[in-house]
Assembly symmetry: D3
Homo-oligomer: 233 residues x 6
Amino acid sequence: MALAEKTRELLRRTSTATLTTQMLKRGFRNVFMEGVRPFHPAGGVMVGEAATLRYIPAREDLDSIESLGSREHPQRKTIETIPPGQVLVVDCRGETRVAGAGAILMARLFARGAAGFVCDGGVRDLATGASVGLPLYCAGAAAPPNVMRHHAIAAGEPIACGGVAVFPGDVIVGDSDGVVVLPPKLADEVAAAAAEQEHLEDFLFEEVKAGKPLFGTYPPDEATLARYRAKKG
Amino acid sequence: MALAEKTRELLRRTSTATLTTQMLKRGFRNVFMEGVRPFHPAGGVMVGEAATLRYIPAREDLDSIESLGSREHPQRKTIETIPPGQVLVVDCRGETRVAGAGAILMARLFARGAAGFVCDGGVRDLATGASVGLPLYCAGAAAPPNVMRHHAIAAGEPIACGGVAVFPGDVIVGDSDGVVVLPPKLADEVAAAAAEQEHLEDFLFEEVKAGKPLFGTYPPDEATLARYRAKKG
Amino acid sequence: MALAEKTRELLRRTSTATLTTQMLKRGFRNVFMEGVRPFHPAGGVMVGEAATLRYIPAREDLDSIESLGSREHPQRKTIETIPPGQVLVVDCRGETRVAGAGAILMARLFARGAAGFVCDGGVRDLATGASVGLPLYCAGAAAPPNVMRHHAIAAGEPIACGGVAVFPGDVIVGDSDGVVVLPPKLADEVAAAAAEQEHLEDFLFEEVKAGKPLFGTYPPDEATLARYRAKKG
Amino acid sequence: MALAEKTRELLRRTSTATLTTQMLKRGFRNVFMEGVRPFHPAGGVMVGEAATLRYIPAREDLDSIESLGSREHPQRKTIETIPPGQVLVVDCRGETRVAGAGAILMARLFARGAAGFVCDGGVRDLATGASVGLPLYCAGAAAPPNVMRHHAIAAGEPIACGGVAVFPGDVIVGDSDGVVVLPPKLADEVAAAAAEQEHLEDFLFEEVKAGKPLFGTYPPDEATLARYRAKKG
Amino acid sequence: MALAEKTRELLRRTSTATLTTQMLKRGFRNVFMEGVRPFHPAGGVMVGEAATLRYIPAREDLDSIESLGSREHPQRKTIETIPPGQVLVVDCRGETRVAGAGAILMARLFARGAAGFVCDGGVRDLATGASVGLPLYCAGAAAPPNVMRHHAIAAGEPIACGGVAVFPGDVIVGDSDGVVVLPPKLADEVAAAAAEQEHLEDFLFEEVKAGKPLFGTYPPDEATLARYRAKKG
Amino acid sequence: MALAEKTRELLRRTSTATLTTQMLKRGFRNVFMEGVRPFHPAGGVMVGEAATLRYIPAREDLDSIESLGSREHPQRKTIETIPPGQVLVVDCRGETRVAGAGAILMARLFARGAAGFVCDGGVRDLATGASVGLPLYCAGAAAPPNVMRHHAIAAGEPIACGGVAVFPGDVIVGDSDGVVVLPPKLADEVAAAAAEQEHLEDFLFEEVKAGKPLFGTYPPDEATLARYRAKKG
């Protein structure tokens, strides 16, 4: 199920804060990645469908610098086949001592039109990787190469990332707070509701900045909603 | 016991480093919050008396988006009643996966003249919240709303925050290193001693930058103290 | 074994990412410090031989503000005797709640020509300390003085820092990713190999940014290497 | 709302595993304490209403061995006023380095007819305390007295324990797996459903031990249920 | 590649301590599971080939008590198809707050002739499950059902467990220290070498208990080896 | 300063709970090791002066199975030179994934008349090592040999163990709660005070078991003390 362009557009204008609120209203309590932060220049948002990659712990006889050369290496293969508009999400088991990827791979993902990169581990050459133009979310900088502790085992599988389940095709949204995961079947509905909530909250934020009390404003009572509709109209 | 304006002024010009030193001299070893950092623009300091709010873990039948609407909700009530010059300190039990508060509440606290916001959990819409003008200290960004894992249970109680005891009325000071908690009965004395130490250390810092060795300078011997008094005089 | 000036120069132009790769090729899997990040202005690199300082937990009868005044205090003595070009590395046992050092000591290290400061604990007055001109790597800001939880026990001993063994004289390299430790006997060889790899990867990075696929480029096949050699001329 | 004797009796014969299943069916996902284990002799179960005690971090001027002598000390007062059949639950903020209580207090709770003791911190003289006859659940042994890191601040408040909300009067059940918390309004219904499930599962456990496959047995199909009803009948 | 009966027999008589030593000699440094302990009665060892099961985080719309009824549920299917002599190893991502399995499943694995159960999460009804006769290794007791935090996603895949890579068919050995993972291609060789080392060390252990110094005995010099060979002969 | 035989005898009859109380009265708040538990058969206490051994992280070129053969290896040398009545305390940096020592070394320490073994890491062949007769305190079982992650660097230095400073010659006391560290200069005084407190508390424990309330009994008032003295007399 492809992500509708309109939904993609709405999601670009909503925050992960609003999206988690909408998901909670629908009974979902575990949708925001733990320990995963943006490292690209402030302001860049990320929306795309998940392409997934799974690491398991390295084994000394299988994982060396040489292993990265193969065309069958799942990390490299995933990057070379990722469709434009997708976000590569990598399950690093929260391992922050080594890199899940580095600057050259960020450049390649950007060149291929990927929508972003997310992992719950480190990234090497992080400052450079964060500047190539691709939205980049990870747990921090880590110089050692992935084969030091990871064995790339498979692409396209459901994974864990930042304590959240990520299925291939899930809708991944990132802003300056972090990364939220939406099941595709809910994406249109949640995006629409979130955009509406966001528009209202922008109004409420201005009201509060102008001195209105929380009571009656946040959440809004009928009088506030009437003012909102008048202004919006 | 209200915080004397003079003490407030002295504390604005002292660092938390100096204050923890003064507290250690008085036998206090646990006064600096762990895992709590500033997120507002660099340079802003925070001084004020603590208003407290306590969260316990959420329970699914009690905590939903709807719970936030009530005028009796302790989080909302605390914010709407906080006196000017106080710092809202929230006990989030170190829970970094959800927000203790968000940008609209930061705006309201600022509008009400609060002196700052401190929690040992996350804040949502953190970049926006950090820009409203209020000193903001927390453990990082977290998009999910507080009801996802918190139940706001009471205001005005002694709490834990960042591993430190905070009693309502305690003097809270924040700078770029973090947040220190002072019992009110010690505030005047510690502020005076810290301001004096700070003034001396500014002098010593210049001396060391100019090439003086640590021995005789930091801590200062009589010759250094004489130079200091001469300059100060 | 003094660090050769040529090696020092080569290391200044290599990243810790490349150095960890070279070390892995030689069978070393534990060379990059965990939880230690740069806090000085972006871009500054650090290269130097390790001078070491070891802390153990404080004991109330031994560690007070007064203990810092002695000329025999290992922390102060180490700083006053560090040769130019060396990096002070402090074993804080990963203790992030107190400072391993502060701004005045950073200024003194800089004045003495030290090449940098590294600890796996906190630093107080961190913003000031990070601005004196010295490369500064630590776990974050922490206002309380080191005697609150540390007893400086000895200088010049092999230590642990960030989970890595550091022997006095080891070659310490820091960039925006973090800090790597190289045994002196390998420094020349690893520096040369890393500089070469770095030069090649800069070329590959440009190739990939220009649209080349990973396969054949990263790692490079013969055609790519030929282009590289042609350009390198 | 007192706990009905019949419910208490049913809960004595159900496992916490079954109770968490019943709670999940009703939408409760956070009811089992993390890091809290039984230390009394195997086999003893615990059922009772929660009496609560809350600790915050100690402050050196407030907390000393002498503070424990006061009749107003919340820990001592709570123990001397706990009604028979209640479980004392203490919020230790997960602090395992010091004791939440010790053997003499266990003996006093037992003498007063308390139904058990639960804390998410340590217990001192643990082996002795575990042998006085009282069901005892905690995070492990810790010799230092509570005043080393705790300030007992209040009794009878809603608290956190092991990551779960505990309100005074909540129904606390412990077995060899650990401790579950039930809201009183659900206790009768959950106890009845759990007892029924337990009875069925005892039958299924025997079936599986006798060689039946999971499919059709666990969960049971109609044929299995018929056999169960026949035997039960 | 089936595990040779002779190798299985040798492994039953070797300790995981000896096996990790043999693996280190062959360059393998990450073969022992972290945080995974035996819970069955003391003395029982475990040897078998790995059957694997992988969990990812639960999602509220996918994971409920009802999901466990399906014949396609990977956990149930894996157990009903496990060949005799294999060890079920489950990737719980180190999640200790909920169960990876419970007593009824232990009974079924035992009835099917499985050689053991291993997970890096909790087990519910642990005391009962540990008594059915199956070697049982996990991180501790946890009453909540797996669907509270897990979604069973696939069987027969390479996984992580206790920080170690486990491929289906890997040889799993458990004793009172914990669990070690051996690649099948090394099993015969490592088992033989380990059995020999074990035999020697039993002799050395007796020598040391009888008062021999470590030097010359552990590791043994020629004289000690001669005594060993004489006795063994 | 040798430990007086009378003090040793008194300490054998006091609990670590009582000793930490006595140390707190003298201003010491950090004397009990964190994460270190007894593994020898219940009931055995440990008293002795500390012999220390310090590990730093392993380096692949320095640490292999072969390194253990040298007579200069600090671990082996320390054990072969430990005087009777001393406790070997090893700084493992809290590393629980590998062993700090194993069963054969426990046997040798016992044969040499050592008073016990303490480390804040794992022990291999733990069940066997715990049965040789030596009091054994550690963080749990771990099969991998120490060279997998440790490099034994020096004996006889002040170290950290379980978060506490340990100087050679410090008095180490262990019971079923864990391990406490006493500076030698305080040993006689603390032992005497603790024995007295222990004797009184044994009486109070009986009083409380017999039904006395805490108030007036624990801490004791004059009437209780009179009864105590009468009985004691």
